[in-house]
């Protein structure tokens, strides 16, 4: 069966976002120094990840940066075989959610672990990384 006729639009647009990070700059700065920091509300003590300047629990705008340490436990994971178009150059990767002491959870790549060796409950460490594109990120490795 042949495709019905269509108007193949000639008006192409490219979307590329400049995402403000001024209120979470400390996270990326300390990551460069090997520390994994997030925000803690100065009023009610609520620890948030991802970090946020304003407290989602009590709405206070006063927060401080705290070190989450590096140790976490694997909660769940997946191995991405079909990658998005903008990750076409990446090899398949494993994504894990790790839980830190105190209950804060973080989603990141799990590196250096074969998918068949990953399972809920294994001990992880989070480490700073620089991507092939030159941008800072963080990844889990096996502790």
């Amino acid at each position: 069966m042949s495709e019905p006729p269509s108007l193949h639009s000639r008006r192409e647009i490219t979307l590329r976002f400049d995402i403000p990070i001024s209120k979470t700059r400390e996270f990326w700065a300390s990551l460069k120094n090997g520390k994994f920091m997030t925000t803690k509300c100065s009023k009610c003590g609520c620890v948030s990840f991802p970090p946020q300047a304003d407290c989602p629990r009590c709405m206070s705008g006063e927060s401080q940066w705290v070190d989450l340490g590096g140790d976490a436990t694997l909660v769940t994971f997946t191995h991405i075989r079909l990658t998005p178009a903008s990750f076409a150059k990446s090899e398949p990767y494993t994504i894990a959610i790790g839980e830190f002491a105190g209950g804060v959870k973080v989603l990141a790549w799990l590196e250096g672990v074969e998918p068949e060796d990953a399972k809920p409950g294994i001990r992880l460490r989070v480490e700073p990384r620089i991507s092939a594109e030159g941008t800072p990120y963080y990844a889990f490795v096996r502790a």
Binding site: V75, H79, R81, S86, L107, W109, P120
Partner: protein
């Protein structure tokens, strides 16, 4: 516009386009197929419709303002309107909004339309846009999360905690295709075997191609009326008895658990309380099976079984015709297809057909006259549960 109290609202007209790769129609033409059916089915005059709410996610089709495009094509310009977005639950959000407008007394007749054109851009772009449905900066920019990837996180947790298997998930796909083969509007009208589902390409382990719903073009529409008007229009009104809705965090890392959708549990609790029914009263349901694991979690989140027992339900055939609560007899998102904004409205169309006894080959036995629509947006970001009843 008489602003008087309305206590009950009914679905009095339904329409559903053929789902699939609909390169033969643009968004206005596609929505028209459902709108015309729904208006003809209801017998209302278009000039008596006060409000048309359009559920559509967009961004993969060319029109930025789908609501006015759809209304113009159907001769409805001038009506009160808006487009609503609750990701894959946009259709249920449109239904709720139209329902509320009648309850408020602003008008006696309203319409909810769901429409999505997903095949006008290349599929890898659409897949990428869907994968961004989370917290972009923290989940996509550096980590390339995908939609199957998100649901795979649930699947691994459920497998690890309750012993659910890849076969259990594949059984959901086999059931979907079995009923899809009986639905002339479905994208896939073909049975599949367990072996075929299990042998399909892994997209995000443990989820495979046959655990996932397809990209779909489609539309659906329902006409709603106040009790006074509904009783004049039809002998078979289907009443909206309960509507529950809730939400959860954008970031997957902020969810409380990965073995169910907490937003769905909250939405279900509200809907059951409002409708004054329990899970045991439900004759037939649609569950949001964007992935097979999502249908299994829905059984538990809706209270169709206890936590951790969903795998037993599918193994025992409890969600097939003749079982405890038949689920997704239209083929579900997996086989009928999942045109994002249209899905919630299409689910309401299916349950209305079931309660009217008009579902043909995939008709469920109706005892209590009560059906349920479970419609999830994103990866549990939005949850809507709607309970429909013949009385």
């Amino acid at each position: 516009m008489g602003h008087r109290a309305v206590s009950r609202v009914a679905i009095v007209g339904i329409g559903n386009s053929r789902f699939g790769r609909r390169t033969d129609v643009n968004i206005g033409e596609l929505a028209f197929e459902s709108i015309k059916q729904a208006i003809d089915d209801s017998g209302v005059d278009r000039k008596d419709i006060s409000n048309v709410v359009v559920g559509s996610m967009g961004s993969w089709s060319e029109e930025s303002l789908p609501a006015v495009v759809v209304n113009e094509y159907a001769g409805l310009s001038g009506v009160g309107t808006m487009r609503v977005e609750a990701a894959c639950a946009s259709g249920s959000a449109a239904l709720k909004s139209a329902y509320n407008s009648i309850l408020s007394g602003e008008g006696d007749i309203a319409m909810a339309v769901g429409v999505e054109k997903m095949t006008e851009v290349d599929s890898s772009t659409t897949v990428e846009l869907i994968g961004r449905a989370g917290s972009y900066t923290w989940e996509f920019e550096n980590y390339g999360m995908t939609f199957p990837g998100y649901y795979a996180l649930y699947a691994v947790a459920h497998m690890s905690r309750f012993g659910t298997t890849e076969e259990d998930m594949a059984r959901v796909a086999v059931k979907a295709h079995h009923y899809g083969a009986m639905n002339p509007l479905a994208q896939f009208q073909k049975e599949i075997t367990l072996e075929k589902a299990l042998g399909s390409q892994v997209v995000a382990w443990p989820l495979k191609l046959y655990d996932a719903c397809p990209l779909t073009d489609g539309s659906a529409a329902v006409v709603l009326a106040s009790e006074e008007v509904a009783k004049k229009l039809t002998d078979t009104p289907v009443w909206i008895k309960g509507v529950g809705y809730s939400s959860d965090s954008a970031n997957m890392s902020r969810r409380g658990s990965y073995v169910g959708l907490e937003a769905a549990v909250r939405a279900a609790r509200s809907a059951y309380a409002m409708a004054k029914v329990t899970p045991g009263d439900i004759d037939v349901a649609t569950a949001h099976d964007c992935f097979t694991i999502a249908e299994l979690m829905a059984y538990e989140d809706l209270g169709f079984c206890k936590k951790g027992e969903a795998a037993s339900m599918i193994r025992e055939g409890q969600t097939e015709i003749g079982g405890k609560i038949p689920v997704n007899l239209d083929g579900g998102l997996k086989a009928k297809g999942h045109p994002i904004g249209a899905t919630g409205v299409s689910m309401a169309v299916e349950i209305t057909k079931q309660l009217r006894g008009e579902a043909g080959r995939h008709q469920a036995p109706i005892r209590n006259g009560v059906g349920l629509v479970h419609n999830i947006g994103g990866t549990g970001h939005y949850a809507y549960v709607t309970i429909l009843s013949r009385s």
